[in-house]
Amino acid sequence: MKILDADKLPDLAAVLAAAGYRVVAPVRDGAQVRMAEWKPGLAIDAGPIPANSVKEFLFPRCEVIARYSLDGDSFAPQPAPVDAPKTAVLAVRPCDAAAMVALDKVFNWEYRDDAWNARREATTLVALVCAAADDECFCTSVGGAPDARLGADAVLRCADGASKFILEALGEKGQALLAAAAGVLADGDARPDPPASVPVRFDSKAVTDWCGENFESPLWRDLGLACLGCGSCAYACPVCHCFDIQDEGTRSEAVRLRNWDTCGLALFTQHSGGHNPRPDQAARWRQRVMHKFRYFVERFGGLACTGCGRCARLCPARLAISQVCREIDEARKAAAK
């Protein structure tokens, strides 16, 4: 058993950095803890659930996917190599790790997305078993768990009353990482701490079924009232993956960009002729729930939600998808009786 003292996460990061990894870890930034590129001297705070998900290190908010040089009236394509540095993500949450597996499906569906795959290949996810959860967490309602291993290449687990971590490799990438980190890991024994307890808040199967029958429902209208129509939830979500393609240029070069986008914004479905098939926030909220709990299931056989709760934590209007699902579940149960 590989053991690391609880306060030695920076040492682990340092040794991995020395071994050529770009290290991403939860670090404190003002009032938040954020997943960020670790730099020597930075403390690692594995306590709170980070405000951002690990998604942006595999699927950047803004990525150059093509490049052209311009000369007079002619242009010439230029290489736009995928930026896929060898990366170790420390203390990634099980919900985030599971989300990457969902995204693998999307990015290898009808089209193999080289950029995603290259970064996925280059990234080692070191999951952290959640020792605590808050009232927005609901991984257990969507098939996950605080100690789930789906998507992780290695697992960190608190032990001996949070004084130690146990680090365990789950595959080749994990073993390579453990090998690179050998210098800071000790062999020994420790008693794993119990994982956080996350109550099951709703039956996701019931939500999937309900969604199939309730494209029209007063629920959507009520949800639409409070929603402000920003992209906070989707951009915080580890599974949301919609993007927009934009071209930008200067006199001498042009780039094609892939930017995050979201169904929460009114412009997402705005047609150039002026018509918008999702004319209001109610329609957009419906899309959000439907996509996560119905369409994704139909297409990929799993949910597009891993229960991290970030959307609810960060929503300016404090809307929570878990609560919506719970209402749906309860309404369905009530109807069944």
Partner: protein, 153 residues
């Protein structure tokens, strides 16, 4: 020490700042014309973009110039009371007063953003202004790499 100073001075002299100027048609553009007809000399670092009035100058113009790598921006129009459109420059003055505070706070300080009144009769003032600004920006050095507005992709 002396060597370093020489080097710095040389580097400063070699640095050709890029300055974008937004000027109104009726006063400063005409003032720049007068500098020309009077055969005054000033450094060739300024590129003038002509607008009808300073009232037309949107802060977006200034941001765009910095985004494109300008080392400094000059905005110039008619003296108060002389606006061809009576009050475009008064509107502009308010806009600038606030916008410069915002840019200063975010790291583009007063060595990068200049405002002036140059009338159609002030060819000499225009020449002196451009010479002085160029010198000041040269002394301040390139805005890069600290330009927070610079395009990076």
């Amino acid at each position: 020490m002396a060597q370093t100073e020489t080097k710095t001075a040389e580097a400063a002299a070699a640095f050709q700042p890029r300055i974008v100027a937004f000027v109104c048609n009726w006063c400063t553009y005409a003032g720049a014309d007068l500098a020309g007809t009077s055969r005054l000399r000033y450094p060739p670092n300024v590129r003038i973009i002509k607008l009808p009035c300073t009232g037309r100058i949107d802060p977006l113009f200034i941001l765009k110039a910095f985004e494109g790598g300008a080392d400094a921006v000059l905005v110039s129009g008619c003296h108060p009371g002389d606006c061809h459109y009576t009050s475009g420059n008064y509107h502009a003055r308010r806009r600038w007063a606030l916008f410069r505070r915002l840019l200063d706070l975010t790291g583009i300080d007063e060595r990068r953003l200049f405002f002036s009144w140059v009338s159609a009769a002030e060819g000499q003032k225009f020449a002196d202004l451009v010479a002085d600004i160029t010198e000041k920006v040269r002394a301040a050095g390139p805005l890069e790499p600290a330009n927070p507005a610079r395009r990076r992709l």
